[in-house]
C-alpha cells in the first residue's frame, strides 16, 4: 500500500511538471471586467473584442512564433474582486492585460500590474485619476471624465440652455468622479438644486427622485451606469418628472433602453465621438457582427487595445513588460476607432466626446436629431 502511495505521489508531482512545461508554449494575454451580473453585457462585449483580435493574430500564426491564449477573469465591477483577479492574472504570467472596464475596478488593479510592470490598456475606464497615479504601465483607449464632464456641462448650458440641475451619482469612482467633473466645469453657470448619491445595485430610486421632483430641476444629471440609469429614467417618468436625464458614457448601452423602455426617448448621454469610417473599422464591424452579433459599446476599443498590445510584442520581439511599455508609449496605431497615440500619462492624444440621444430605441448623435 505504501509503495502505491509513493507511485501516486510521483505521478501527482509529474503532472505538475507537465503543466509547467506546457506554460511556455503560449503567450498569455489577460482581460478582466464584469462578465456576470448587471453589467455582463458590456463586459462580454469588451471580452469579445479582445477575443476577436487574438483569433485574428492566431490565424496569422500568433506572435513571436507562439500562439496567443486569452485568460478572462470576472471582476464583477467590484474593487475587492478586481484586486484578487489582478493578482491571479499576474501570477499566471500574463504578458499584458486589456481591462478593467469600470474605473473603480481599474484603479486598485492597476497597482498590482504596476508592481510587476505588466502593461494594461483599459478600453473603458474614464476616471482622470487612473492615469495620474504615476504608474507608467497604465494606458487607456477611451477619453477622460474631465473631458466628457466639460462636454456635458457645455451641452446643458449652451445647447439645452438650462440652469437648474439635480445631480445624482452612484458613489463609484466613475459615477461620483464624473458628477464632480460636471459640476466643476459648469461652475456657476448652473444651479445645483439637489446633489445625492444612490447605491449601485439598488432598484428603488423613487424616494430620492421624489426629493428631486420637489426641487423642480430642469435637467437631472446622473453619473453612473446604464442599469441604474434606466431605472432612474423610468421611475422619474412614473413620478411625473419632465426634466430630461443626462449622463456620461456609462449610460450608453442597450440595457438602458431595455430597462427604461419608451421613457428612454429624449435622454442624453456623452459617448466617444464616432470616427470617420476606416478600412480597419469596417472590417472590424463586419467580422465582429458575423461572430458575436451586434456591437454593444466597448468592443472596438477592446479590439484596438488588444491589437496595440500584440503589435508591441511583435515589434519589440520580447514579452518583457518594461520594454513593451516603452514600445506602446511610442507607438502610432491605426485602429478601428481611429489613430491612437499616447501622451506621457498614458492617455490618448485625441479624445473627443459627442452628445447622443435616444430616438426610436437607438442611440444617435444629438446633431442628427435637428
Amino acid at each position: 500500500m505504501k509503495s502505491f502511495y509513493k507511485i501516486f505521489m510521483f505521478l501527482f508531482l509529474l503532472s505538475f511538471l507537465f503543466a509547467c512545461a506546457k506554460k511556455e508554449d503560449v503567450i498569455k494575454i489577460g482581460t478582466a471586467g464584469p462578465f456576470t451580473g448587471d453589467q455582463a453585457r458590456i463586459g462580454q462585449d469588451m471580452k469579445n473584442g479582445v477575443e476577436l483580435a487574438i483569433s485574428e493574430w492566431n490565424a496569422k500564426g500568433g506572435v513571436l512564433g507562439k500562439k496567443i491564449a486569452l485568460l478572462a477573469e470576472d471582476d464583477r465591477h467590484d474593487p475587492k474582486e478586481a484586486v484578487a483577479v489582478a493578482n491571479k492574472l499576474v501570477s499566471s504570467g500574463v504578458v499584458g492585460v486589456i481591462g478593467h472596464l469600470n474605473s473603480s475596478a481599474t484603479k486598485p488593479a492597476s497597482r498590482i500590474y504596476n508592481e510587476k510592470s505588466v502593461p494594461m490598456i483599459t478600453p473603458a475606464s474614464t476616471n482622470p485619476e487612473i492615469t495620474k497615479q504615476g504608474y507608467n504601465n497604465v494606458f487607456r483607449i477611451c477619453g477622460r471624465d474631465d473631458q466628457q464632464g466639460t462636454e456635458l456641462a457645455r451641452f446643458v448650458v449652451e445647447i439645452l440652455k438650462k440652469k437648474k440641475v439635480a445631480v445624482l451619482h452612484d458613489k463609484t469612482t466613475y459615477g461620483q468622479g464624473l458628477a464632480e467633473e460636471f459640476k466643476r466645469s459648469a461652475g456657476n453657470k448652473i444651479e445645483v438644486v439637489v446633489s445625492e448619491g444612490v447605491t449601485q445595485g439598488d432598484q428603488d430610486f423613487k424616494p430620492v427622485l421624489t426629493k428631486v421632483k420637489s426641487a423642480s430641476p430642469e435637467v437631472i444629471f446622473f453619473g453612473g451606469m446604464h442599469t441604474e440609469g434606466g431605472l432612474i429614467i423610468k421611475q422619474a417618468k412614473e413620478l411625473g418628472i419632465k426634466a430630461p436625464v443626462i449622463g456620461g458614457d456609462g449610460l450608453y448601452g442597450s440595457t438602458l433602453i431595455e430597462v427604461a423602455g419608451p421613457a428612454a426617448e429624449g435622454s442624453y448621454m456623452a459617448f466617444f465621438t464616432p470616427t470617420a469610417e476606416t478600412e480597419i473599422g469596417k472590417n472590424f464591424v463586419k467580422n465582429y457582427t458575423a461572430k458575436y452579433g451586434e456591437i454593444e459599446t466597448y468592443a472596438p476599443y477592446a479590439y484596438d487595445a488588444a491589437n496595440i498590445l500584440l503589435k508591441a510584442i511583435a515589434e519589440s520581439k520580447t514579452t518583457d513588460g518594461k520594454k513593451l511599455i516603452e514600445t506602446i508609449r511610442k507607438m502610432k496605431y491605426e485602429g478601428a476607432v481611429g489613430t491612437i497615440e499616447y501622451d506621457d500619462n498614458g492617455d490618448i492624444k485625441k479624445a473627443g466626446y459627442t452628445i447622443y440621444t435616444v430616438k426610436d430605441k437607438k442611440f444617435i448623435t444629438y446633431d442628427k436629431v435637428k
Binding site: 462578465f35 456576470t36 451580473g37 448587471d38 455582463a40 453585457r41 458613489k171 445625492e196 448619491g197 444612490v198 447605491t199 445595485g201 439598488d202 432598484q203 428603488d204 430610486f205 423613487k206 424616494p207 430620492v208 421624489t210 426629493k211 421632483k213 420637489s214 442599469t227 434606466g230 431605472l231 423610468k234 412614473e238 413620478l239 411625473g240 440595457t255 431595455e258 430597462v259 423602455g261 419608451p262
Partner: protein
C-alpha cells in the same frame, strides 16, 4: 412630497412584508431561519417573467390583460410552492432532529445552490420584464403619482395578508399551525400530523414570496439571480423588527421598514438609505429585544 414618499414606502414595504411572513412562519414552527427563502422570491420573479414572455408569445394579452396577469401569478406561485415543498423535503426534513446549527448550514447551502442554479439555467445577465405588457395609467392625488402597478401591489398584498390572517385564525389547518408553533411535540401527541403542517407552512410562505417576486419584477422591470439576497436580508430584518415568529409582526415590520427607507432617503439622504432601516432595527432591539409585537424570548440561533 410626503404623500408620494408614503406611497413609495408602502409599495416596497408590502413586498417586504410578504417575504417576511415566510421567514416568520417557518421560524414560528421550526425555530429555523430559512436563509433560502430570499431565493424562492427570486425564483418567483424569474417565473413571472418566463410565464409572461410565454403568454405574450401565444398572444394572450391581446385577448385579456387581466387574464394574463392572473395566469402569470398562478404559474409563479405554483412553481415557487413546488420549490418550497422540495426545499423542505430535501434540505430540512432529513435534519429535523439534528442539531440546530446543521439545519441552519443546510439553509445557507440551499441558498447558494439555488442562486447558482438559476444563474446557470437562466444566464448571468439581467432579465428585463417585457414592455409589451404595460399596465399603463396612474392615479394622481395632490401631485403624488401612483402607477396602477403600485395600486396592484398594495391591493394584492393587503388581500393576501388578510387571507392569511383569516386562514390562520379561522380554519382547522390554521389552528393546527398555531398549535404546532406553540409546541410541536404536544401537537403531534394530540393527533396533528406535524410533518404535514410544516409542509403547508413552507408552501404558504413560498406562495407569498413567489407572488412578491412577480410583483417586484413588474414594478422595477428588471430581475437578476442575486436579487434574493438583499431582499431576503431586508425581509428578515422586517421579521425581526416586528418580532420573529409573530405573523402580524412581520406585516407591521415590513411596512414600517419600507416607510423608513423611503422617508429616510427622501428627507435625510439617499446615500444612507439602508442605514436608517438598520439603525431603527438596532434601536428597537435595544429597547424591546423581542421586536415590536413579539412576546417570546428566543434563545435560538
Amino acid at each position: 412630497m410626503l404623500l408620494q414618499q408614503i406611497i413609495n414606502g408602502l409599495t416596497i414595504g408590502s413586498v417586504y412584508a410578504l417575504i417576511a411572513l415566510g421567514y416568520t412562519m417557518v421560524y414560528g414552527i421550526l425555530q429555523l431561519i430559512n436563509f433560502a427563502h430570499g431565493e424562492i422570491y427570486m425564483i418567483g420573479a424569474y417565473m413571472g417573467i418566463i410565464a409572461i414572455t410565454f403568454f405574450i408569445y401565444i398572444g394572450l394579452p391581446d385577448i385579456s390583460i387581466a387574464l394574463t396577469l392572473v395566469l402569470t401569478f398562478l404559474a409563479a406561485i405554483i412553481f415557487t410552492g413546488a420549490y418550497g415543498i422540495t426545499l423542505e423535503r430535501v434540505a430540512y426534513r432529513p435534519l429535523r432532529n439534528a442539531p440546530r446549527l446543521s439545519i441552519l448550514i443546510s439553509a445557507i447551502g440551499m441558498s447558494i445552490v439555488l442562486q447558482n442554479y438559476v444563474m446557470l439555467a437562466q444566464g448571468a445577465r439581467d432579465k428585463i420584464f417585457p414592455h409589451e405588457l404595460k399596465i399603463g395609467g396612474e392615479l394622481i392625488i395632490a401631485d403624488a403619482h401612483i402607477t396602477y402597478t403600485q395600486v396592484l401591489i398594495m391591493a394584492l398584498s393587503v388581500l393576501m395578508m388578510s387571507g392569511l390572517t383569516w386562514f390562520i385564525k379561522k380554519t382547522k389547518v390554521g389552528m393546527a399551525m398555531r398549535a404546532t408553533a406553540q409546541d410541536r411535540r404536544m401537537a403531534g401527541l394530540l393527533g396533528i400530523n406535524t410533518d404535514r403542517i410544516i409542509v403547508i407552512t413552507f408552501l404558504i410562505g413560498s406562495i407569498l414570496a413567489g407572488a412578491a417576486g412577480v410583483m417586484i419584477s413588474m414594478y422595477y422591470g428588471i430581475v437578476n439571480f442575486y436579487m434574493g439576497y438583499t431582499a431576503g436580508i431586508k425581509a428578515f430584518t422586517a421579521a425581526v423588527l416586528g418580532g420573529i415568529g409573530n405573523i402580524p409582526g412581520a406585516m407591521l415590520g415590513g411596512i414600517l421598514l419600507g416607510l423608513l427607507e423611503a422617508l429616510g432617503a427622501g428627507y435625510i439622504s439617499s446615500e444612507y438609505k439602508d442605514v436608517f432601516a438598520f439603525a431603527v432595527l438596532v434601536l428597537v432591539l435595544i429597547f424591546k429585544p423581542t421586536g415590536l409585537l413579539g412576546e417570546r424570548i428566543s434563545d435560538k440561533v
